[in-house]
Amino acid sequence: MNNIEKSPDQRPLSPHLQIYRPTISMIMSVMHRLTGLGLYFGVSFLIFWFIALILGPESYQKFNVILSMQIVQIIFFVVTWAFFHHLFGGIRHFIWDLGLGFSLKSVDFLSYMTLVLSLLFTILIFLLT
């Protein structure tokens, strides 16, 4: 934490999260980062999927066996939820970028909507597919 004194070019680190009293908007902000990080690694799945497709029907069949495993289905559910959480969190940021929704009530409302809509869309998608 002394890096401000060391050199003005180095930026200070974020203070530890646990010194703040948690609020819904803060939790959703942390979730936006965590879901972003989850999706960051989740994207590598696409590459395996592409490679399986390029290698032909047989390797794709083997890949599908892995996909239908229960644990993979659970990971899929979590990644889908992360996708929608990050998506709605992003839309929330766009609303703020337009200069709207800054009252405490609106901030709380938008935060809860991020949570509710992301869960709703995830469950809907899993029921429909």
């Binding site: 890096n3 070019d9 180095q10 930026r11 680190l13 974020s14 980062r33 972003g36 990080l37 999706l39 960051y40 994207v43 590598s44 696409l46 590459i47 592409f50 490679i51 497709l53 390029i54 029907p57 794709y60 069949q61 599908n64 996909l67 996708f83 998506l87 992003g90 839309i91 940021h93 766009f94 970028d97 998608i125 597919t129």
Partner: protein, 112 residues
């Protein structure tokens, strides 16, 4: 990312890529969920259409850049010194690998 003028560039780029991700990402995600248990031939047929694989490449590139900035700023916030430099390098390598491999794969799937 200690360069002071880069913040505004990242701010704008993160939002522009977010818009692209929204516009292309939602249909891409729905298509993926629809076809993913429809079998090899259906998926291959879909990905060989220009209207699918070209937007997919744009999506992957936009996504990669969004990932690079996002994780780069997380590293800025929570790490410093040598560890930050190392993780930033890993971030760059990972993002470029994702972008490059996906683009090559989509071109192969689309054209051959």
């Amino acid at each position: 990312m200690s360069n002071k003028s880069i913040g505004t560039k990242h701010f704008i780029a993160q939002r522009l890529t977010a818009i692209v991700n929204l516009i292309v990402g939602i249909p891409a995600f729905i298509i993926f969920l629809k076809v993913y248990d429809e079998g090899y031939i259906a998926i291959k047929g879909l990905l060989s259409q220009e209207i699918v694989w070209i937007p997919m490449i744009i999506y992957i590139l936009s996504l990669s850049y969004h990932m690079k900035i996002g994780v780069g700023h997380m590293l800025d916030d929570y790490f410093d010194g040598g560890l930050k430099s190392f993780l930033s390098l890993m971030n760059n390598i990972y993002v470029y690998l994702v972008a490059l491999l996906s683009t090559i794969a989509l071109i192969i799937l689309g054209m051959f």
